[in-house]
């Protein structure tokens, strides 16, 4: 029961600490603008290609709808580490007797919900602005793919967040690891378009599996048909989350020994 309380407190307070300064109307405006603008940018790039087809536009729009989740589950989750350092709250976090697992995992959870809202807004834009055809979509399969993408990408965010404890400026990692997803995860072009040697890198990101599963669900595949992809995604996401937690514990132990908490 206590661990559950820690989990929920961690979820709520980490989100409030990060975004309490942002008024709700600005928060919503940014959510709409970010979701629409990134998708629009790449859709227009796609439209500029001679012989561009509706299937290419659909490919790009769905990829960016899924990638929009990363702004919350990767960028914001990594930045929790940055805020812990800048706001001077890290020593307090490390001083609490709370169990570390719910404390660490919990902090990403509101961002998962926020990411799901981003995805919903993005799919709305994909359908009503960019004309993506959702008539064959298996709604259950798509919903499960989106939810799993949010959770597993939060795991990835926690991994990089854990890694970022060892550096002075986690925001740098937040930027790098949010944007490179656009290159590696098949967001705007298939993974096969990447040079062969770097293609394996794509499969360390849970987003790659999520995007593949979502596109297949939009094409009409059922939950059962996309389940092998989703199983791989869960595996990669869980591994990332566990590694993130272990990095956090490693940092905590090192901080206690060396006394270096914020000043890396």
């Amino acid at each position: 029961m206590n661990n559950l309380k820690v989990f929920f407190s961690s979820a709520v307070f980490s989100f409030r600490a990060q975004f309490d300064w942002l008024n709700p109307s600005m928060w919503l405006t940014m959510k709409l603008v970010l979701s629409l603008s990134q998708m629009a940018f790449f859709v227009f790039v796609g439209l500029f290609i001679p012989g561009s087809t509706p299937s290419l536009i659909s490919f790009i729009a769905i990829g960016n709808a899924l990638q929009s989740i990363s702004w919350n589950t990767v960028f914001s989750v990594i930045n929790i580490t940055g805020h812990d350092k800048w706001d001077g709250t890290l020593p307090l976090v490390l001083a609490t007797p709370a169990h570390r697992l719910p404390l660490y995992i919990g902090r990403a959870m509101i961002h998962v919900l926020d990411g799901l809202l981003s995805a919903a807004i993005s799919f709305f834009f994909a359908a009503f602005i960019f004309g993506v055809d959702f008539s064959h979509t298996d709604a259950l399969a798509l919903a499960v793919a989106v939810v799993l993408t949010a959770f597993t990408m939060a795991g990835f965010g926690l991994l990089i967040g854990g890694f970022s404890f060892f550096f002075r400026n986690p925001m740098v990692f937040a930027n790098i690891f949010t944007f490179i997803l656009l290159i590696f995860c098949g967001v705007n072009f298939p993974v096969a378009s990447l040079p062969t040697v770097i293609q394996p890198v794509s499969y360390i990101f849970p987003l790659t599996y999520g995007i593949t599963a979502a596109r297949n669900a939009v094409d009409g595949q059922t939950l059962l048909q996309i389940s092998p992809t989703l199983a791989q995604q869960i595996l990669v996401g869980a591994a990332a989350m566990i590694m993130g937690y272990l990095l956090f514990r490693l940092f905590e132990n090192s901080a206690r020994k060396t006394g270096k908490i914020e000043a890396i």
Binding site: W21, M30, L47, F48, R168, V172, N175, N188, F189, L194
Partner: protein, 270 residues
């Protein structure tokens, strides 16, 4: 040296020293243009025509844009975080001179971003970077840089009073890439967005830079049908006029914003 120039130089120098003390800050500024260019080049790689030119020059332009918008928005936020905004405001120097010095340094870093994007395109994607008219290319680039800086000043003045400057910065970046037609012709955009594109100096700047790079682009310029040099000069004339307007607006806005902040005392809390 006249006092305003001394203040501008000091702000420029201080911004440079900050950057050198913590150069990793350049990464958030350059990462989006670099990734967007890489994605565009990958999407365009099987296409013929001037698409590579659009991607490379557009990516470079986005590098300048991104740096200026990000830095302008973040300049005020940075002072708030460090607790130094009160001192900057209380100093007898005008805030606009301080921010101008920073805007110029940001634009300078933006130029290095552009060079980085061009190098990545040349080395990583083997895109030929032959420039038809190096002199006009340089002139266009410098004037575009000034235009971007002047627009950065307008944004900075608005950001002084906003607690959400950083969010606005993040939110504005990609829409500006779209509206200015950095990576594709603005003809692809809905017609109601076109007026917004025309009041952005860099929209004309990128047209001039493309014209100076390749004469083949002339048929796709805003001034299609005219000779490339005439079209380029028209682009630069429009951009200079817009840049002067930005500078005048920025001066007026800074006066209003600074006065209001002193009266209400909400600058740091805003």
């Amino acid at each position: 040296m006249p006092q305003p120039l001394r203040v501008i130089y000091s702000a420029f120098r201080m911004a440079m020293l900050h950057w050198m003390a913590d150069p990793q800050w350049v990464i958030p500024n350059i990462i989006a243009p670099f990734v967007f260019t890489t994605v565009a080049l990958t999407l365009f790689k099987n296409s013929s025509g001037p698409l590579g030119l659009y991607a490379v020059l557009g990516g470079g332009m986005m590098g300048m844009w991104g740096n200026t918008i990000y830095s302008s928005g973040f300049a005020i936020e940075f002072e708030k975080w460090q607790g130094t905004l009160e001192e900057v405001i209380a100093a007898p120097s005008k805030l606009i001179h301080v921010i101008t010095g920073r805007a110029i340094s940001n634009a300078f870093f933006g130029l290095t971003n552009m060079v980085a994007v061009l190098l990545i395109a040349a080395v990583g994607f083997q895109i030929p970077l032959g420039i038809a008219d190096p002199l006009l290319f340089t002139v266009s680039l410098v004037l575009t840089l000034l235009s971007v800086s002047a627009l950065g000043l307008v944004f900075a003045s608005a950001f002084v009073l906003s607690r959400s400057a950083q969010a606005l910065t993040n939110g504005l970046e990609t829409p500006l890439y779209i509206i200015s037609g950095s990576m594709f012709p603005i003809a692809l955009l809905p017609f109601w967005i076109h007026p917004a594109a025309y009041i952005l100096g860099p929209t004309w700047g990128i047209d001039a830079i493309r014209l100076a790079t390749s004469s083949q682009y002339a048929s796709q310029s805003f001034w299609a049908g005219m000779s490339p040099n005439t079209a380029l000069l028209l682009d630069l004339t429009v951009m200079v006029a817009i840049t002067v307007a930005y500078a005048l607006i920025a001066v007026a806005l800074f006066k209003i914003v600074e006065k209001r902040a002193r009266i209400t005392g909400t600058m740091v809390q805003a």
